[in-house]
Amino acid sequence: MTPRLETVGMDSLIVRLFETIDEANMPWLAAADSALREAFGSALIDLVPSYTTLLVHYDVVALTPGEARERIRTALTDLAPASAEQGRRHVIPVWYDESVGPELPRIAERLGTSVADVVERHCARDYGVFALGFAPGYGFMGLVEATLATPRLKTPRQKVAAGSVGIADRQTAIYPLRSPGGWNLLGRTAVTLFDRDREGYSLLRPGDRVRFEAIDRETFIAQGGDTTPLEEREERP
């Protein structure tokens, strides 16, 4: 494990640990995250882990670029992967339905199978949270089984409802708030992904594991879900 340090700005460095996306990266990234937080202390402004890297944004009043590099090198010497059991496991109930997941029938058609079978495949495994980004609490998860892999929409939707569950290539994610988006939508959850009043704010953290569980419309409504269909016509005038 020889991390590479890259200058990316006046007060920011990228620590590159890997070259490819792999769930096996996660324990290493978690360990690097803890080590860097400890090494920088109050001189750390932000630390952004992603699939293969960590962005270190440090306080230039406290540290010179050379000192920042030195702290990173020292912190990552003899790095050992964190315990794989550190992340939490979430079971997220999803109402899979064409009205809120318009790509569901299209994917079923492409695979020559039923909608129920697509749902079953999406629910069949635990997904690791690789990174948070795009929006507060938006977790990039994977990998979905290879047959489900679907490229992003050519034209992103202007409005995707909060709680929408989607697929892009072999990744899956939940939109925490209403936003534009180009992922293929399968359904919707009533779970709140980002809550300013929750300890730590975001339900998902890198390294967590997520399992989707299919629920029916009534259960979704009972959980506070919004059944308003995605109105495509309105979005593409």
């Binding site: 890259e6 700005g9 006046m10 007060d11 402004i45 630390l47 990174a131 980004g133």
Partner: protein, 313 residues
């Protein structure tokens, strides 16, 4: 919303881009929460300095203009940054200065004369409840601002301030001078610059760039020579302020305060925070040049700016 300490300003009319801003939201970017904060943090800093506030005190970022405020309490306010044709009861106000206001007067911003964003400082800062450590308004994320949910100012809002008396300072002469005709923006080259074609790197630093009209608080697109990078389909990684990303069309986008936290386009490097502040005042069609700098040089310039604000503390 908290009860305002002093009800100071009532919004009579507001365009889409009058936003409460401070230095931004930090320590939460790993959750996908963007930085936010004043785009031209230098002008917010000077506006606050004029009143004796710390440079990052919450103020109003007024983009383009189209804003009318009714004064509810007598006080001293300050303006810095763009000249948006500000008037008090119809009389032109000096930009980059503090001025006295009295209850009942009308403070209005018309349209840009020079620059794009004006910063209004009030005694002790605008009173708003911080969300995740900051009052910075990020509409897209529904965070910050007067209501805490990222809403821009709207007619009927009342802004209060936290302080009473304040300093009455005059800006140093070199700050009020008009900016140079063609902005030179300092860029710290990033490691990925090695993957750009040699002539593209040469062009980046030697040709003129123009600000595109696709420009907002997330980023500003630049028009100029087409840049070619050998990297494609990168894995998303954290993006620093000022990152100059180059998508497949070869036209760079400078990512600013409201940028997404991670992304996968190759990058030339990042503008320094000082250069980002300068860019935030350039209107579409204006030209600029990129000049390479090192992290150490950029840091010295950055610390020098902060030292000016603290020189007579």
């Amino acid at each position: 919303m908290t009860a305002a300490t002093t009800p100071g300003l009532r919004v009579e009319r507001a365009g889409p881009q009058a936003l409460i801003q401070d230095a931004g939201r930090f320590g939460v970017r790993h959750l996908g929460v963007t930085q936010g904060g004043a785009l031209d943090w230098v002008s917010l800093g000077w506006a606050n300095w004029l009143l004796g506030n710390p440079p990052e005190t919450p103020g109003l970022e007024i983009a383009i203009g189209d804003l009318e405020l009714r004064i509810e309490a007598s006080a001293r306010l300050a303006l810095a940054g763009a000249d948006l044709g500000a008037t008090l009861d119809g009389r032109p106000l000096p930009n980059n200065a503090s001025f006295a206001v009295e209850a009942g007067q009308r403070l209005a911003f018309a349209a840009p004369v020079r620059g794009l964003r004006a910063y209004l400082a009030v005694p002790g800062g605008i009173d708003a409840e911080p969300v995740l450590g900051s009052v910075a308004t990020v509409t897209r994320e529904g965070l910050g601002g007067l209501d805490g949910h990222g809403r821009a100012l709207a007619a009927g809002d009342t802004l209060g301030w936290r302080g009473q008396g304040c300093a009455d300072r005059v800006l140093p002469r070199d700050v009020v001078l008009p900016p140079e005709a063609e902005a030179a923006l300092a860029l710290v080259p990033g490691a990925q610059i090695a993957h750009f074609a040699g002539d593209s790197v040469f062009a980046a630093f030697n040709r003129e760039w123009r600000v595109d009209d696709r420009a907002d608080r997330m980023g500003v697109r630049l028009l100029g020579p087409e840049l070619h990078c050998r990297l494609s389909g990168m894995i998303s990684e954290g993006i620093p302020l000022g990152a100059v990303q180059v998508p497949a069309d070869g036209q760079p986008i400078v990512l600013l305060n409201d940028r997404q936290t991670i992304g996968g386009y190759p990058r030339l490097g990042a503008l320094t925070p000082l250069a980002c502040a300068r860019l935030a005042q350039l209107a579409p069609g204006e030209s600029l040049r990129l000049t390479p700098t090192t992290p150490a040089q950029a840091r010295r310039a950055h610390l020098a700016q902060w030292a000016r604000w603290h020189a007579d503390d």
